[in-house]
């Protein structure tokens, strides 16, 4: 019996005619990424298929105790390949690989196994990583591309933030969403012309966004403020979290979801932290430090723009979020979302989002520690915080999850009434 599944490299040859499929996690961010990859010379399709078929494909081809995100992402790929929409001999799939001690680094391998099992062993799997894990001649991450991607993340974060802060208060329902769509389109057009990536252009674009969003007619009635933290995929992906943001919106809440830029900064910072804790290469340290400085720089642009305008609440600078964490957890705790998840809860509370949904895949290992494991500590630090951990997996039902969230909201409502008295 043959044991080893051969890895198919994605070659330059292939890249001339293959289509690369990428999974969706965050609509706006990933549209940008798709656009950037296309400019880099690849044919790219951002998968939007969802529903039970995706879950079923996942259940069928992935070990059921594997984390829900892996199950969904792999299910989404296989469902797409089986749909007949693509020439399965001219298609590759791409997946991120963070390279930490969490199970997530194994998604790629599980995907490869699943593809073989589902009868698509010929489909190359491209690892999107900066840790130097697997290389493909047909797909390389260039430095300019990485820089562009970081800019795209800032835009995505900004649009997410503005929409979330306007939507509950808009007088004409749908205004914020429309404006977000407008900017998504506009920025994609800009990107095609290589515009929008310099710090100056970013500053101008972000300013305009804040201005136009602040001009949307709003009525500031008091709303329950809810923050969402969690395992990155479940936190962001509506496919995974049963449209959590929309549900909270329907319940009359203002929602805050900390952005992706913080996670990137965290990710880079961890490498530095490990060098500090355990020792390591000085050159590596120098390069990483440069990246960190760059990220901090573009973060500052975003925060300054929001604060200058004054209408909206800007995210807390990463430096401060970092400092907050120390009261609860150490920086060495870096697998998965690591200490950042704990710190984000604290950031949210400090910013008035005392009600928090901590979303995690059922049985998520790091979350035993940084999520559920830290709630007690956070309550000690912030006695008025109101946190509900919610597990997501293919068997968990929406009705159960919503009931638990509703309880959190009932308590939030009472707290709000008390405060207003």
């Amino acid at each position: 019996m043959e044991y080893k599944i051969n890895r198919i490299e994605y070659t330059e040859e292939m890249d001339k005619e293959y289509t690369i499929l990428i999974p969706n996690m965050l609509d706006v961010h990933f549209s940008f990424i798709q656009n950037l990859l296309e400019q880099d010379g690849h044919k790219v399709v951002l998968l939007k298929n969802e529903g039970r078929a995706v879950v079923d494909a996942g259940l069928k081809y992935v070990h059921n105790d594997t984390c829900y995100p892996a199950l969904l992402v792999i299910g989404q790929f296989i469902d797409a390949l089986q749909s007949g929409e693509f020439d399965v001999n001219k298609v590759a799939v791409m997946i991120t690989q963070t390279g930490g001690g969490c199970r997530a680094s194994n998604y790629l391998h599980l995907l490869r196994k699943a593809l073989a099992k589902a009868g698509f062993p010929q489909v190359p799997v491209i690892s999107l990583n900066v840790a130097g894990l697997e290389k493909n001649s047909g797909f390389k991450l260039s430095l300019p591309l990485i820089r562009k991607a970081m800019a795209a993340v800032v835009y995505g974060d900004m649009l997410m933030l503005l929409r979330n802060q306007v939507r509950p208060y808009e007088i004409n329902a749908g205004d914020a969403e429309k404006l977000r769509e407008h900017y998504t389109q506009k920025l994609c057009d800009d990107f095609t012309q290589s515009k929008g990536f310099t710090k100056k252009e970013m500053q101008e674009n972000l300013k305009e966004m804040v201005r136009t969003f602040s001009e949307i007619p709003m009525e500031k009635t008091p709303k329950i403020k809810v923050g969402i933290v969690g395992e990155i995929y479940v936190k962001y992906s509506s496919l995974a979290n049963n449209n959590l943001e929309d549900f909270l919106h329907e319940q009359g809440c203002e929602v805050d979801v900390p952005g992706l830029l913080g996670f990137l900064t965290f990710y880079i910072g961890n490498k530095l932290e490990e060098i500090k804790l355990y020792g390591g290469n000085k050159i590596k340290e120098f390069i990483l430090e440069q990246v960190r400085v760059y990220l901090t720089g573009i973060e500052k642009i975003m925060i300054d723009v929001i604060n200058e305008d004054g209408t909206f609440t800007a995210p807390m600078p990463f430096r401060k979020v970092h400092a907050l964490a120390a009261q609860a957890i150490s920086y060495g705790c870096d697998m998965g979302e690591g200490w950042l998840l704990t710190a984000e809860m604290m950031e949210l509370i400090e910013h008035g989002y005392k009600n928090i949904v901590c979303a995690q895949p059922f049985g998520c290992l790091p979350n035993h520690i940084v999520g559920k494991g830290m709630i007690r500590k956070i309550r000690e630090l912030y006695p008025d915080s109101n946190i509900v951990p919610i597990d997501y997996d293919p068997g968990a039902t929406k009705v159960n999850q919503e009931n638990r969230i509703k309880l959190m909201l009932a308590v939030a409502k009472e707290n709000m009434q008390k405060e207003n008295k």
């Binding site: 984390c67 001690g101 293919p394």
Partner: protein, 965 residues
């Protein structure tokens, strides 16, 4: 007036208040899922009682959300309603414990309001108690009476009904008293509520008990009182607090009750649940299907001079078959065992002797859970492991059968046949069993018999797609489907499909029919059910063979086996002896070794004795336990025990003996001892130790080894130490056989959880620095700093020297293990003994974690080695997954070793909830299968059903034997 309507998972509760909050009316009834109809009826009765009054109405309850939404009536979250009612009627309450049909809640009212509800993985509720009562064949109230007479408490898992069932069933089968079991069930619920929900917050002060179970069962309240060391309050109307709170919170404009009734009646349900294709399009299709399966009938006979008797004493049912010399069935019986297999077999034999006075029993064999006890009680000639019995029977219907699936009362067994030998065995893990009893439970809850219920689904037009999950999840899926308007027919069909999906995707983990086999025989009582059979065929798109006696196959196989083995006269109990047959049972705790098995002693009138609950032969033969010199688990335990504490010069350091400390102890012990510290290790793990730390566990789904750490820390806190040392080790040693060398996130960072959740650590120094043992050079300055920060001055060279010794000791510890491994392998080779690599993690050798499974394996005469003893004998090789955890890379290497060596097999121990093993198990299996070896996985948790483990081991050894022949 205000009405509060509480629509729970199984019941409707309703209260009416007047303007001054006087309770005018209350009512309680089961709704059998006819929520809307029953609610409307209830309102009509209120209307009759209070004609012409205007009312406020609000709805609450776990099944109320949908209907409230559709009817446009206010919905109040049920916990919030409880809190409101308690605030009003029992002021000063600190904690409310509320158990409902399927929910369990603790509400902390003192200080900050905090609410804990059971998560998606939690039983221990009313439905659980009902399920357990039906397992004991008593009604729920009788359970309470029984519990009053209890003398002892067994440990029963209550995480979900399925788990508990697999604990209780063996207890019953082994003759434990029902009263003791009843009390144990209540204790389990208490344990689950406190452990699962309180999560670190102490339950104290003025405590109030609410909800159905706590209203009806005095023994449950007593059990809570005992555990919490307090006397809780069970107020009047304790059933109605949710409804009362809901009524209090209802506001808005008052309307006439007719209007409300109309609103409810018009509440449209959104029939938008996920559905799949009908099982049968029409009657004709069903007829064809029935005719096709009718072909696989067994011959029957009216009389025989001589017969061979086969008995299958299963977990929930007992089957007996008598066949003649041609294999034709003379008589058979299928009966529920009601927790007492002995009694039922006795009845069967009595009626057999009466009905067939002239028929001689030539030979007899027994299989199943109750094999040993039945064999001893009635002098049955042979015992045969279930899997073999089923295989023998299946072959009789399909000679080239290559796949058998048996779905029984509470277990699923599947095995592949390759070259005429049982090749691969799949048994359901305790957590995923959606089997016969699962369907039965649902049928019962909805008010049907299982037969009626299954029939309902045959022609359902839009079967609900319920996925494949365990019972607890399924409850809420069904709830959701009901909310979305699924009919009972569609739910029935959906449940049948879900049983099938569960078996195929969760137990077998197949991706399609070809993964199973060409010639599939299905059996077990559950396949009697046409809906399940059809769902199975549809799911794999292939026709299968269902023998007419599908429910009796184990017994039939046993009868065939008895026939083939018959060489001398049967020793089965004679009619005379049977008439004076007696059976007594009592329970004791074995003191033979540290396993402390809970034994049940069964005594029979033939002076035979049968002891159950044992892991080894010691209590039976009074000999010493299985040869420990051939058990590497005990070798390793002994090695670790040698690290004893020495005198304290500089202070006393506590080390919790759990998780990676099972391998790091030699390292840190040496390090601290060299520096003049006394090292105090926490005591041996026990269930009691676990319980002592339970209140500080924040995540109830983390693995048991991690949960145990909390107990070890609590124990160390009693030791008056200078510090507890438990460092975070993100990285493990690089053994250069993998691509990276992490620890799993839980092992790596669990000290953070301890730090954040252990109040006792406020008074004891807790050192949990992040240390890089993988970078030896960089470690010294960091450890130096850590030591100086905590204990004053140390010189660098002092630290370096101590660390050097620590590294030396660690490597020599590994070398000792490897050497012992080599000795055992050589010995096995020379003596031609089977070798089992019993692999997992270093901490799996903890007897409280592996539950003495090592002893059990030894008792089969196998030599046990561990993964760390063989992994260095194999060269690094590429695996199909990212090989990045040190402990886990050893598993792949060990699998490779087993694959390449004759006589060496592997059993993988997997802790329930281990996320990383979702990856390793598939990979280890693939490596073994590539080498034509059988993969065996044993899932272990807080409690492990050793009965199931035994079957698994016996099947494995039977298959190995068969292979050798």
């Amino acid at each position: 007036m205000r009405i509060g309507l509480d629509i729970g998972s199984t019941t409707l509760k309703c209260v009416v208040f007047d303007e001054n909050e006087n309770l005018l009316y209350n009512e309680y009834e089961r709704h059998f899922s006819m929520i809307r109809e029953k609610a409307v009826d209830m309102l009509k009765r209120i209307k009759d009682k209070f004609p012409g009054r205007k009312m406020n109405l609000a709805i609450s309850g776990s099944a109320g959300m949908g209907i409230a939404q559709n009817a446009g009536i206010d919905f109040i979250q049920e916990v919030y309603a409880t809190k409101t009612a308690v605030d009003r009627f029992i002021p000063g309450t600190d904690v409310v414990i509320e158990l409902g049909g399927e929910d369990a809640k603790i509400i902390f009212l003192d200080g900050t309001l905090e609410v804990r509800m059971n998560g998606s993985c939690a039983g221990g509720t009313g439905a659980f108690i009902d399920q357990m009562a039906s397992l004991l064949s008593v009604d729920a109230l009788k359970l309470n009476d029984l519990a009053k007479k209890a003398e002892k408490i067994y440990t029963v898992a209550s995480r979900c009904g399925v788990f508990a069932k697999s604990d209780i069933q063996p207890l019953l089968n082994q003759g434990a008293k029902k009263s003791d079991v009843a009390a144990s069930i209540f204790a389990a619920v208490v344990n689950q509520t406190i452990a699962g929900l309180a999560q670190g917050r102490e339950i104290k002060g003025k405590i109030v008990y609410l909800g159905g179970p706590l209203t009806f069962f005095s023994q449950l309240r007593e059990s809570f009182d005992k555990s919490l060391k307090t006397t809780g309050i069970a107020p009047d109307n304790s059933l109605f607090y949710v409804a009362m709170g809901t009524a209090l919170l209802s506001d808005g404009e008052k309307t006439s009750i007719d209007e409300l009734i109309e609103k409810l009646e018009n509440a449209e349900s959104e029939a938008e649940y996920k559905s799949s294709d009908p099982l049968f399009e029409n009657e004709k299709e069903y007829e064809d299907f029935k005719n096709r399966h009718a072909r696989n009938s067994v011959k029957e006979t009216d009389s025989a001079d001589e017969i061979y008797l086969g008995i299958d004493a299963g977990s929930t049912t007992i089957k007996a078959v008598a066949i003649d010399k041609d294999g034709a069935v003379l008589t058979s019986q299928y009966m529920p065992n009601h927790g007492n297999p002995v009694l039922h077999i006795r009845n069967f034999l009595e009626s057999f002797y009466k009905n067939y006075p002239d028929t001689k029993i030539k030979s007899s064999a027994v299989t199943g859970y109750g094999e040993e006890i039945i064999k001893n009680a009635f002098g049955i000639d042979f015992g045969i492991v279930e899997t073999m019995a089923h295989f023998i029977a299946a072959k009789n219907f399909c000679n080239d059968v290559d796949f058998i699936i048996d779905i029984g009362g509470q277990d699923i067994k599947c095995f592949k046949i390759r070259n005429g030998v049982i090749d691969n065995i799949f048994l359901n893990e305790a957590c995923s069993s959606g089997c016969g009893s699962f369907l039965q439970t649902f049928a019962g809850a909805l008010g049907y018999s299982i037969e009626e219920f299954a029939k309902l689904g045959l022609f359902a037009d839009k079967p609900v797609d319920l996925g494949s999950r365990c019972t607890v999840f399924m409850n809420s899926s069904v709830k959701q489907a009901q909310k979305d308007g699924a009919t009972i027919e569609n739910i029935s069909a959906g449940l049948s499909s879900s049983v099938v999906k569960n078996a195929i995707y969760k137990v077998i983990r197949a991706s399609g029919a070809d993964d199973l086999g060409q010639n599939i025989v299905v059996q077990g009582g559950t396949f009697h059910n046409d809906a399940v059979l059809r769902a199975f065929e549809k799911e794999i798109s292939r026709n299968v063979i269902r023998p007419s006696i599908s429910g009796l196959m184990g017994a039939y196989g046993a009868a065939l086996y008895a026939k083939s083995r018959c060489t001398k006269p049967s020793e089965i109990i004679t009619p005379d002896k049977l008439s004076t047959f007696e059976h007594k049972a009592h329970a004791i705790t074995c003191k033979g070794c540290s396993n402390n098995c809970k034994l049940t002693i069964n005594e029979f009138s033939n002076n035979k004795k049968y002891i159950s609950g044992n892991r080894c032969e010691k209590p039976i033969t009074n000999s010493k336990a299985a040869d420990e010199s051939l058990n590497m688990f005990s070798f390793k335990r002994n090695l670790l025990e040698n690290y004893k504490s020495t005198n304290s010069v500089r202070g006393r350091i506590g080390i919790p003996m759990g998780l990676n400390m099972y391998e790091m102890l030699p390292f840190w012990h040496t390090f601290f001892t060299k520096l003049g510290f006394e090292v105090v290790t926490s005591p041996k793990s026990t269930h009691k130790l676990y319980r002592s730390g339970q209140h500080t566990i924040p995540s109830d789904t983390v693995c048991y080894p991690a949960k145990l750490i909390h107990g070890h820390i609590e124990a160390l806190l009693q030791e008056n130490l200078d510090a507890i040392f438990y460092p975070c080790l993100g990285y493990n040693f690089d053994e250069e056989k993998s691509n990276n060398h992490y620890n799993c996130p839980v092992v790596a960072f669990y000290p953070e959880v301890i730090q954040a959740n252990t109040p006792g650590l406020k008074d004891t120094k807790f050192i949990y620095n992040y240390l890089g043992i993988h970078r030896r050079k960089d470690l010294t300055p960091r450890v130096h700093k850590m030591m100086c920060d905590n204990f004053g001055k140390f010189t660098k060279s002092e630290i370096k020297n101590a660390l050097d010794c620590a590294y030396d000791e660690y490597y020599s510890y590994l070398a000792r293990i490897e050497k012992e491994g080599s000795r055992l392998l050589e010995y096995a080779e020379k003596e031609n003994k089977p070798v089992i690599i019993l692999c997992g993690r270093p901490y799996h050798i903890d007897p409280e974690i592996c539950h003495g499974i090592d002893t059990l394996v030894s008792s089969f005469g196998a030599v046990i080695v561990t993964e760390d003893a063989v992994c260095r004998k194999v060269d690094k090789f590429e695996v199909n997954v990212l090989n990045q955890w040190t402990y886990h890379s050893r598993l792949y290497l060990a699998a490779k070793y087993a694959a390449e060596h004759k006589n060496v097999n592997l059993i993988q121990l997997v802790s329930f909830g281990c996320g990383v093993d979702a990856i390793t198990t598939d990979e280890v299996r693939a490596i073994l299968e590539a080498g034509n070896k059988i993969y065996t996985q044993i899932k272990i948790d807080e409690i492990t059903n050793l009965g199931a483990v035994k079957i698994r081991l016996r099947s494995l050894f039977a298959a190995l034997e068969q292979e050798a022949e």
